[in-house]
Every structure is written in structure tokens, then in C-alpha cells.
């Protein structure tokens, strides 16, 4: 058997999101175990450990699970990721952080053990700006964009990128921090009401999203001009505002809804047999889908690693090699029953981050559904790549890491 610890959080301020994500993650592996007998004949175990989104508990979870031949980690928290980056390097266990964590970990030559496919925070920012360019016929000159962000490592991530992009495209960027937890955002939204920015980008998490969307509705800010990062794109974020949230947009790096053949299998093998994590209450929700997608990436990585190692019983080091050789194609996604659900990407020793593409989804309040309104959008690598490199170099210098891959 292979062990993929699931460092989840189902309690605390972000428990509502963590719940869905963890269920998706578990269910995907349950399906593989039930339907295919695991991967390469090996069952995948996903022992859960509650972190409550708390870094210290995260470390405790990591320490308590790593002894049991843990193959790979997905801590689902930027804070915990930062804690674990040095630790996984020391212990030689890979860590996969899809859509969160440290952006510059994309540079595999420095971050040997960390992977963040298929997209990272900076990709997200760039994809959103690209979308705005599209909406505006390719021109954002003279426009103003406000960034409302969670005043933490996560929320501050896109600032550098957006500053670069504003130089490039000639829009004005105004930064509006919100301290977590962020139930009370009156001043921020009054400021927006006065300044009337053309667009507002939301890098929020937890209750901050719900409050922001409600406040935006309160000041009658046009919902379609409010665009969140993918972590501000769950049902839980929009539902409290009810009909007022109609038209709100967010980025996403995976498909939404249940219109995929995959769910048929899930129903027969997992839901109907009563093996669903958390009773199957969240199947098809945005965060559930994302947890499932994270599991998919890891599962594919395992498969690849088994191929390379020539044995189904792989080690963590072999897992890393598998991830570095991972390639997920359009065809493979179709094969998995999830056509178009995720973007095709290929990792390498150098590139631990994939293609970084994202789509834009929009909330339909009457149908209570997210609708995809764009195809995958390619982020602006010209802007991002140098930034990533600079940050990775700095990290390498600080920690005397010798870049590899050459």
C-alpha cells in the first residue's frame, strides 16, 4: 500500500472550505481503490490529520505521518507549506501544492522537492488581468484596478505581479488590505465606492470572501467587475449573499459542475456504496472539485513514478522523479473521464509548476451554479518568469542551495 497523508482542516475559520477539499481528495483515491484496486495494484491510503489551518498543528501532523512511508504531501495551506518546504527537503519527501503555496517553487532547480502544478498565485493574477484585457479589447490603459487582499502571505503574493502588469498595461493598481478574519470591511468598500475602480480583484479566504461579496453588493458594485482568485471561488463564498452575488466572477484552474463522465463512476463505486468521505454532501462543489483534482495530479504522479521505477511499491524519492516526469495530456484527461476538466501540462526538473493556465467562472445565483465563461487562458510568462527566477535565486542564496538541472 502507498500512503498519501491528507493534512486536512475541517474545523476553525476555514473549515468550511477545508471540508469540501478534503472530501474531494479522499473520494478520488477511494474511487481508484474501489474501481481499479488502487494504482498499479497498490491501494492508496489517505490517513487524515487535522491541522485546523494552524501551522503548528500542521507540523505536528507532518511529523506524525511522515514515519509511515509517506509518499507525498499536500497540506492545503500556504502557511503550512512554508513551514514544510525546508523540512521536506531535509526528509526527501515531495510536496504538491496545486494552486497555492510558494509561487517560486515552480523553479524546480531550487525547490527540488516542491511542486505547484498546474497554476500558482501569480498565474492567477496574470490570468485575471488577461481576462480583463480580453473584455476590454486588449487595452487597460487608464483603467483602475483595486486589489482587495487577505493581509497574509497568501494575500500579498500577487502584489509584485500586479505591479509589473500595471506597468506593462498602463492600468493603475490600488491595494486594499483586509486583516483576517475580515468580517468587517466597511472602510474598504466605502473607499471603493468613492474611487470607483473599474475592476476589483479579490484575494480573499474564508469569511473575508463572504463579507467582501456582500459589501460589494451593498454598494451596488457591478458584480461582473469583481473577480476573485480561485480560493475566492467556492459556493460558500457566494451563497450567503444570495441573489445579490449573481454575476460574480472568479478564476479557476479546473472545471466545475458534474457534467463529466467521471462522476458516473464516482457514483457507482463511491457514493452509492456509502464510502464517500463526509457522506458525499459536497460532491461537485468547487472546492471539492479542486481537492479531487489535486488527488488526480498526485495519482498520475504515482503512476508515472511506478513506471519509471519499474515497481509499484515506490519510495518518496521515486515519487519525486515521477512528478518531475509527469505529463498530463488532453487525451489522458478524457481517458480519466474528465475531458477539459484540467489543462494539459508537463513538468520537468526545471519546471515544477506546469502551464499555469486558468479559466474564469461566473456565479449564476438563480441556478446556484458556477458557469465557465472562458477557455483556459495562458498567463503572461514574460512577466512571471523573471519574477519567479529572482525569488528562487534569493531563496537559493539565503539557504545556500546549489541550483541543479543543468
Amino acid at each position: 500500500d502507498l500512503t498519501v497523508p491528507n493534512l486536512s482542516y475541517r474545523t476553525g475559520p476555514y473549515g468550511a472550505n477545508g471540508n469540501q477539499y478534503a472530501d474531494g481528495f479522499n473520494d478520488y483515491f477511494t474511487l481508484l481503490n474501489e474501481r481499479d484496486g488502487g494504482i498499479g495494484g497498490q491501494k492508496i491510503l489517505t490517513p487524515e490529520c487535522e491541522t485546523a489551518y494552524n501551522t503548528e498543528k500542521g507540523v505536528e501532523c507532518y511529523e506524525s505521518t511522515k514515519g509511515n512511508n509517506a509518499l507525498v504531501y499536500n497540506p492545503f495551506s500556504t502557511g503550512i507549506t512554508y513551514q514544510l518546504i525546508p523540512k521536506v527537503a531535509a526528509d526527501g519527501i515531495p510536496m504538491v501544492t496545486p494552486g497555492y503555496g510558494r509561487t517560486s517553487a515552480k523553479d524546480g532547480s531550487v525547490f527540488q522537492w516542491v511542486f505547484n502544478p498546474p497554476a500558482n498565485y501569480w498565474d492567477g493574477a496574470s490570468v485575471i488581468v488577461k481576462h480583463l484585457l480580453d473584455v476590454n479589447g486588449g487595452d487597460l490603459n487608464g483603467k483602475t484596478i483595486a486589489l482587495v487582499y487577505h493581509n497574509s502571505a497568501f494575500g500579498k503574493e500577487p502584489i509584485r505581479t500586479l505591479e509589473e502588469l500595471s506597468k506593462k498595461h498602463g492600468f493603475t493598481l490600488s491595494q486594499i488590505p483586509v486583516d483576517p478574519p475580515g468580517q468587517e470591511q466597511k472602510s474598504q468598500w466605502l473607499q471603493i465606492r468613492r474611487e470607483k475602480p473599474d475592476y476589483v480583484i479579490l484575494y480573499g479566504w474564508g469569511v473575508m470572501n463572504q463579507a467582501a461579496i456582500q459589501e460589494a453588493a451593498n454598494i451596488r458594485y457591478p458584480m461582473e467587475n469583481l473577480i476573485g482568485i480561485w480560493w475566492a471561488g467556492g459556493e460558500v463564498d457566494v451563497e450567503p449573499a444570495g441573489a445579490a452575488a449573481n454575476g460574480y466572477k472568479s478564476a479557476t484552474f479546473n472545471g466545475v459542475g458534474m457534467d463529466y463522465p467521471f462522476y458516473g463512476d464516482l457514483k457507482t463505486h463511491v457514493l452509492d456504496t456509502g464510502k464517500a468521505s463526509g457522506g458525499g454532501a459536497h460532491v461537485g462543489k468547487a472546492m471539492y472539485s479542486r481537492g479531487m483534482y489535486a488527488a488526480l495530479i498526485i495519482a498520475e504522479g504515482i503512476k508515472k513514478a511506478q513506471e519509471l521505477a519499474g515497481t509499484p511499491e515506490i519510495t518518496a524519492a521515486q515519487m519525486r522523479d515521477g512528478l518531475e516526469a509527469l505529463e498530463i495530456t488532453e487525451a489522458r484527461m478524457t481517458e480519466l473521464g474528465l475531458p477539459g476538466f484540467g489543462q494539459p501540462f508537463q513538468l520537468s526538473c526545471q519546471n515544477h509548476g506546469g502551464s499555469g493556465m486558468g479559466m474564469i467562472q461566473q456565479w449564476d445565483a438563480s441556478a446556484k451554479q458556477w458557469k465557465l465563461i472562458t477557455d483556459f487562458i495562458q498567463p503572461d510568462e514574460d512577466v512571471l518568469q523573471p519574477l519567479i527566477q529572482a525569488d528562487a535565486q534569493a531563496f537559493a542564496a539565503e539557504n545556500s542551495i546549489q541550483p541543479r538541472c543543468n
Binding site: 476553525g12 486583516d179 468587517e184 472602510s187 469569511v207 456582500q214 451596488r220 457522506g279
Partner: protein, 327 residues
Amino acid sequence: MEQLLYASEVLVNGLMAGVMYSLVALGFVLIFKASGVFNYAQGVLALFAALTLVGIQQGQVPFAHLINAMTGAHLSSFGWTVPSLLAILLTALVMVGLAILIETLVLKHLVGQEPIIMFMATIGLAYFLEGLGDIMWGADVKTLDVGLPQGISDTAEAWTAALTGYGFFIDRLDIWATVIAALLVAALVAFSQYTKQGRAMRAVADDHQAALSVGISLRFIWVMVWSIAGFVALVAGIMWGTKSGVQFSLSLIALKALPVLMLGGFTSIPGAIVGGLIIGVGEKLFEFYIGPMVGGATESWFAYVLALIFLVFRPQGLFGERIIERV
């Protein structure tokens, strides 16, 4: 001129935000007045009340998750919805029941202990209720709708626009909050100053032993006060829950209420309101004028610093009872 108008808009909204803080602060004041206990669990009480309200309203099966996990059943909902008013009443009853439980299981055994011990006990209680609320009603974000309107008030906007040329933003929910807060405060002040029970409540806060010795039943007073505090928590929970959904973070609004309390005085009901207004206005104006210079998000600490400065001049808060120092 425009700056000034903006500033007054911020000011008005600050006042309103302050009222929302006060709603939470009131619960603290009541319990402090009655027992000298700083009830850390007040925020969680608000969360618990709001969760229960939503649960009752939407006909959720309590402990569904636990039962499902233990027995493999698939319970979730009774399939009915209860009208808002009835649901609020039922929730109030639940809060009374909770008060009785808290009294018999916790407070009764801690008569005469130092305030800090009681404070700790309320923290333990907060933990317990947090876990209980989650187990009972689930950890999801829930939508709370009891029919309170939300969003910009057109009348206020039109009216201010006609007057000044700039339409102010005033949230309808805030207007409601103000009205409700005013009623609550009036009722509570009357209760604590002019009724026998109110007097007994203050007596208990001063000296448990002496109160016992004149035949005041601590148990009754505590049940009563915790019930009222539970009701106030329910009101606060409704307001804040309507604003941003019912979920764990609701309990953290307690942190916004603390500076209000400090400034107004732990023992003063009107203080909770005045403190709220000052804090609301202060932090919004500070964020408006100074925030941009220092990078914003000053609201997390400004209220505390403001209250601290006030306290240095009046150690018992604006309206708090004077701290009697004699030898």
C-alpha cells in the same frame, strides 16, 4: 469639500459599524455586571445562537453528522422550514436552556473564585461550545435570512444627494441594527437600574458571599443573566450572520467588541453603545485619513490603541464604575 463629504460619509458609517460592535459588547457587559466575570465565550455564544437559529429555521437534524458517522444513516434535514419569528423564539428558549446548563455545570461550582479563574472557565466553555456547535449543526457556511433588508438605502442616498450633492452610503441592515440596539439598551438600562433583580445582579458582582448572605440566589441571578446575555448574543448573531453568513468566524467578532467594552467601561450598558460609536468612528476615520499612509489594515489594532489611550486617562472606561481604592 468633497473630502469633507467623504469624511462625513465615513463618519456616519463608522457610527453604524460601532452599533454593530456594541451589540456584541452588550452581552459582555451584562455578564460582567452580574458576576464580575469577563465572559470570553460571548462571541461563541453568538455563533451558537446563530447556528441554532439557522438550524431550526431550515429544519436541520441536530448532530446529523455524528449520528451518520456512528450508525451509517443519512440524516440531514427534517424537510420543513420554520417561520423566522418562531425560529427566533425557539432559539431564545434554547439559549435559556443553555444558560441553565452552564449554571449547573460550571458556574455553580465556581462561586467565590477569583475573576481570572472564572474568565478561564468561560474560555473552556467557549471551546466546548465551539465544538458542540460544529457537531450539532455542521461546519459549513450557512446563509441566515430572517427578512432583514440589506444593501444601500435609496432614501438615505437620495436625501443626502439632494442635501449635499453627494449621496451617502447607508446600509439598511445598519439602520435596523441601530434601532434594535437602541431598544435593547433602553430595556437593559431600565432593568438593571430600577428593578429588584437588576439591583441584585449588581450586588452579586460586588460580593458573592454577601449576596448569598442576604438571600440572593446566585444561581437564579446567573441563569437569568446568562439567558439575557444569550438573547443579546442571538441578536448580535442575527445581525452579523445576515451580513456574512453563519460560520466559525462569527465567534471572532468578540475581538471587535473588546475595545468597545474597554472604552465604554465593563460595567456600563450605555457605555457599550457610546464606546461602540467612538470606536466605530475612530477606526474608520483613522483608516480613511492615516490608513493609506501606513499601508492600511489599521483597523485590527487601532481600536485597541484608541481604547488604551482613553483608559490611561480614565482607568475605568468612560462610564465604568469607579474603581474603589481604599485602605
